[in-house]
Amino acid sequence: MIKIKDIHKYYKMGKSSLHVLKGINFNVEKGELVAIMGSSGSGKSTLLNILGLLDEATEGEYILNNIPIENLNETKAANYRNNLLGFVFQSFNLINYKNALENVALPLYYQGLRKKKRQQIAIEYLEKVGLKDWATHLPSELSGGQKQRVAIARAIASQPKVLLADEPTGALDTKTSYEVMKLIQDLNEEGNTILVVTHEEDIANMCKRIVRLKDGVITEDKKIKQVLAKVD
């Protein structure tokens, strides 16, 4: 599903340049649940942004869903993001003046679906994350966990090939974190390919594979025994 080969990323900081990713190689197969771990500054978010086509690698090869990603312009990138990728952010990034249903329906709007169809799908996914009754609520009327579930519903509503989650539990307490992880595990069980960036061991252990990054290189890449998230 994802193949990256020798990815480098430099950030220009005035005259000097910062070498953030120093040759990353790894593959993700369909249906995997991968945790990308590392302390802050290890380059894990940069990697995720490159995988999410929000940022471009300075060097290297990236093949997503058998499509070589090269010479991207913004329009192409937007279409790939729309059709192949789903995003979950630490700070939820819901649009604050749209209610839960409208937020979930937004990527479908950019896919060009008609309104009725969009709403039908959006309701379906809200139900999946257990928030059907909250469809008409604005983000400000939802708790952090609920917001993240809406964000997850939005990310998967367009049926992406890969779901990218950047610290999805970073702004949540342990209990809601586990609820969100439970949801992510369930989605993975349905066959979704999911990458989770985190720096919390317990969250990483709920995935099936851990990739550790340190100073822009992969120090460890191992399959683990998944800990199922317990929700009381």
Binding site: L54, I95, Y110, K115
Partner: protein, 424 residues
């Protein structure tokens, strides 16, 4: 999605309405900016048009390119004559002038009693009497200054002149003062300075222009000659030039010709006086054209500043919405979709506020019209804004709205989505 599809897609508009509704303060401020601009524009140009119409109404009963010429005293000795001579105008001058100044369309010799000094005529009917100005006129006079005659009556005609008939056309006030209310004045007789005249018509008084009033009595020129012993003398000529002629040139030509006929020094500026209505009218029309132009400039400038305001506010709002736009792009909005949304927001806001401004402006114009409807002295009639002006203003607004929208739209897509998402 191509741009046409975006414009006609109801979803696009839902997105736009959504974002407009959620940014109420911004929307209201923006709307007021442009609304005020177009309101000023419509009101000003409507008012200018009203003024224009008002002037035209005041001048409608007199030919636009007409003038009066009369004799005064010479100021330069010439051909053996001393200064201070009064070169009396004669009836024959009319045909000579017409021959030598081909631009003249109509020329009407006129005599009057009671107008320029002198006492008005004493008019008596039965037990009623009054003093009124009396004019000796040719029928051609009404070709220059329109006189509306009430039903059943007529103005003087050529036969009245040929036979020096004792007939007269009286004014509304004359009728009121000399006749009973229920009496038909036509066919009645009045005594002007001791001579009986038959009334053949009552003229409707039109406000504006000259020294005439609602009590004037018009009698045939020939009859006037006999009544007051004026011989060949003419008090003044009322002249209308052809429409395409330049009134100032015609005026000069007429005066030069008169100077030659009456042996007056060619440089004598005092010998003949004149008043050029065409020129005066031209000056007033120039003024009102100036007003129209001014209102156009002011209006467009105000619209422009309103539109720039929209651009400004959209720029701020794009800055405020950086994160939202970043989210949209992470979810798959292409740069052209984002750009289109911002431009359409701008165009929509400008057009809506423009239409509101037009409606409001039209309302104000209607109110002004109602208030000034019956004011005689104020030259203001039917203030309208020509449709091309309105359409033009709308077109300008849509164009400027989309142009100004380009700036924030470009700014919105110039930020990389990843940077936009980091924005807090």
């Amino acid at each position: 999605m191509n741009s046409l599809k975006i414009i006609f897609d109801s979803d696009t508009w839902q997105e736009i309405f959504g974002s407009i509704r959620k940014n109420k303060t911004r929307t209201i401020i923006t709307v007021i900016g442009v609304l005020w601009g177009i309101f000023i524009y419509i009101t000003l140009s409507g008012a200018a048009k009203g003024l224009d119409n008002g002037f035209e109404r005041d001048f409608e009963n007199i030919a636009m390119n007409s003038m009066f010429v009369w004799a005064q005293n010479t100021s330069i000795p010439y051909a053996g004559f001393k200064t201070g001579r009064f070169p009396r105008l004669k009836i024959e001058d009319a045909s000579l002038l017409k021959k030598r100044v081909p631009e003249i369309q109509y020329i009407a010799p006129r005599n009057a009693k009671g107008v320029f000094g002198g006492s008005p005529a004493q008019v008596v009917r039965k037990a009623r009497y009054g003093s009124y100005n009396v004019y000796g006129d040719y029928p051609v006079f009404i070709k220059i200054a329109t006189k509306e005659i009430y039903d059943g009556g007529r103005f003087l005609n050529q036969e009245d002149i040929d036979y020096a008939r004792k007939v007269c056309v009286i004014g509304e006030r004359t009728q009121k003062e000399l006749f009973e209310d229920d009496e038909n004045p036509i066919g009645g007789f009045i005594r002007i300075d001791g001579v009986y005249f038959k009334v053949i018509g009552v003229h409707k008084y039109n406000q504006g222009g000259g020294f005439e009033s609602d009590s004037d009595i018009f009698i045939p020129f020939e009859t006037y000659r006999k009544l007051y012993n004026t011989g060949n003398g003419v008090d003044w000529f009322t002249i209308a030039a052809y429409d395409e002629a330049n009134p100032v040139e015609v005026e000069n030509k007429i005066k030069q010709t008169l100077k030659r006929i009456h042996k007056v020094h060619p440089d004598d500026k005092r010998a003949f006086g004149s008043f050029n209505l065409g020129e005066a009218f031209g000056r007033i029309m120039g003024f009102s054209n100036g007003m129209t132009f001014l209102s156009l400039i002011v209006g467009i400038a105000t619209i422009l500043s309103g539109v720039i305001g929209i651009g400004n506010i959209l720029l701020i709002s794009v800055k405020e919405r950086t994160k939202e736009l970043g989210i949209r792009r992470a979810l798959g909005a292409t740069p052209s979709e984002v750009r289109m949304q911002i431009i359409l927001e701008s165009v929509f806001l400008t057009t809506m506020s423009g239409l509101l401004g037009i409606i409001l402006g039209a309302g104000i114009l209607a109110i002004i019209n109602l208030l000034t409807m019956n004011s005689e002295g104020f030259p203001y009639t039917n203030p309208t804004v020509p449709i091309p002006f309105v359409v033009g203003a709308l077109a300008i607004m849509v164009t400027l709205g989309s142009l100004i929208g380009l700036i924030p739209a470009q700014k919105a897509v110039s930020i990389k989505p990843i940077d936009a998402l980091r924005e807090e």
